[in-house]
């Protein structure tokens, strides 16, 4: 689903955010992206979403070559990707339900479908009772879960998450991780940036580690290949 081939990213300021990154994430795979802040985790996610363009190498997302993507093709790419943003990116003048509805409205679903799916997604993150509440009245952890509901509501093929458990207590973190696992089982590919090593190591999932914009460890090959190797 996602294929990095010697990808590099250099910002206009001259800052080399990523260099020579190669890894693949297959269908139904879950991988954690780790590294200190500034290691390039967020930049890597931005490249996948075509928020930033790559400076070198090749990057394919669900068959789309991001080096050649046209501006008007970007919305369709993003509609296939559910993203949990580190800073939530919620709209505070809309209710929780309306926030979660956004990816569906963007994709042109009917209001009836939107409503049903929104409720299903909110139910999954345990916030069904907050559908009509405004995000400002929610705790940081609850806002985070609204962001997660919004990321999964459109049943994307790829889910990207930037520190999705950053504001959650261990119990909730584990619950959210199990939600992600469920998506994995139905063929969704997930790439989760996190520095919560305690949580990650307990899950026994594939790890892609970044340091100063370079891959320093983990398993650049797919998990399936790894299992074969073992």
């Amino acid at each position: 689903m996602i294929s990095f081939d010697r990808v590099s990213k250099r910002y206009e300021s001259g800052h080399q955010a990523l260099s020579n990154i190669s890894f693949e994430l297959g269908k139904g795979e879950l991988a954690f992206l780790t590294g200190h802040s500034g290691a390039g985790k967020s930049t890597l996610l931005k490249l996948i979403l075509a928020i930033e363009s790559i400076s070198g190498g090749r990057l394919h997302v669900n068959g789309t070559d991001l080096a050649r993507i046209k501006r008007r093709q970007i919305p369709a790419l993003r509609q296939q990707i559910g993203t949990v943003f580190q800073d939530h990116q919620l709209l505070f003048d809309r209710t929780v339900g309306d926030n979660v509805a956004l990816p569906l409205q963007v994709a042109g679903y009917s209001p009836q479908d939107v409503r049903r799916r929104v409720r299903a997604a909110l139910d999954k993150v345990g916030l069904l009772s907050k559908e009509k509440t405004y995000p400002i009245r929610l705790s940081g952890g609850e806002q985070q879960r609204v962001g997660i509901a919004r990321a999964v509501v459109n049943r994307p093929r790829i889910i990207l998450a930037d520190e999705p458990t950053g504001n959650l207590d261990p119990k909730l973190s584990a619950e959210i991780m199990s939600v992600f696992q469920q998506f994995r089982q139905v063929g969704v590919s997930l790439l989760i940036a996190s520095h919560d090593m305690a949580l990650i190591s307990g899950l026994g999932q594939r790890i892609i580690a970044l340091q100063e914009g370079k891959l320093v460890g983990g398993s650049p090959r797919s998990a399936a290949a790894d299992q074969e190797y073992q």
Partner: protein, 321 residues
């Protein structure tokens, strides 16, 4: 590739298919149209001031076009009463005059020909002026006999051509046609029309800047919202859609206000002209009419849509992402 069906949502997944495009399209447009109208009404003063500026800009060309239309139709009504008067020489006797007037009916383009003897002319003149006692003193009748010709069409070319023909007749001494002032009125009407159209074009550009700027402010104030929509895959078209309705509402509201003021102005002008109705029948301002009003509203809406489209796509793109 198959669409992923997340666990626990399979029931819903079986029921919902990819949305039926047309129905959803219409439903979503309706939602956007209503919500953008509601947003405008939430800021009544800022909306009203924009609408007022638009109406002010549209009013001048609309007035000129109304003047043009009224003058043209006034000219038309005067023209249908167009006559050519042939004054006969003094040595033409009444019998000959009659004969000429009957012969003239044979000419193509002539539908009426009436002989007025010098006596009849004098009589009419004295009754019209009330100078009968003065005129009775006269030993000679100073008025010539005349033939009044009605042309088949109130067409300036035909009238000119007939006049040239009549001038060749030996009995005709002079010819009077009220054509020059008709031509003048026509020229004035045409100049109003030209001014109305040119100013209409110039002010349309002005109006599109006004609407474009209102849309720009809306984009700027919704910048954070637009970023989020872009991040979840909203296209520029999706983001612009409510703004296009904002433009359409501005255009229609501006045109509506213009139409209202225009109708009031026409009514006011006509009540002033009423005083001269006896002297100048047919001189009335004509309102824009139903088709004129529909044209005004339609072009207002279209102009609003177009300028909102140009402006919104430009500024949405400028946000980046």
């Amino acid at each position: 590739m198959n669409r992923a069906k997340p666990v626990g949502d399979q029931k819903a997944a079986n029921v919902t298919k990819k949305p039926s495009k047309v129905a959803n399209f219409l439903q979503n447009h309706q939602t956007d149209a209503i919500s953008s109208l509601r947003k405008l009404l939430q800021l009544p003063w800022s909306t009203l001031s924009t609408v007022f500026v638009i109406a002010t800009a549209l009013l001048l060309p609309a007035c000129l076009l109304v003047l043009n239309k009224s003058l043209e139709s006034a000219v038309e009504s005067f023209r249908s009463g167009a006559r050519i008067t042939l004054y006969l020489s003094a040595d033409t006797n009444p019998g000959r005059g009659h004969e000429v007037s009957i012969n003239l009916l044979e000419i193509e383009g002539v539908v009426g020909s009436e002989y007025i003897s010098s006596e009849a002319a004098l009589e009419e003149f004295s009754s019209a002026t009330g100078l009968s006692s003065v005129l009775a003193e006269l030993t000679d009748n100073p008025l010539p006999a005349a033939i009044v010709i009605t042309p088949s069409q109130p067409d300036l070319g035909l009238i000119t051509q007939l006049s040239e023909q009549f001038a060749l007749l030996p009995e005709v001494e002079s010819i009077q046609v009220d054509e020059s002032w008709i031509a003048r009125a026509e020229a004035i009407a045409a100049s109003f029309g030209f001014l109305g159209q040119s100013l209409g074009l110039i002010f349309a550009i002005g109006v599109s800047f006004i609407i474009g700027n209102a849309v720009r402010m809306s984009v700027v104030s919704r910048q954070d919202e637009i970023r989020v929509i872009k991040l979840v895959g909203g296209s520029d078209g999706f983001i612009a859609r409510p703004l296009l309705y904002t433009g359409i509402w501005f255009g229609i509201a501006g045109a509506l206000l213009t139409a209202l003021v225009l109708l009031l102005l026409v009514a006011g002008a006509n009540s002033a002209l009423q005083a001269t109705a006896d002297l100048l029948p047919g001189l009335r301002l004509q309102g824009p009419g139903i088709d004129g009003l529909l044209l005004l509203l339609g072009s207002g809406g279209a102009l609003g849509w177009l300028s909102a489209r140009i402006s919104s796509f430009y500024y949405i793109r400028a946000i980046g992402l």
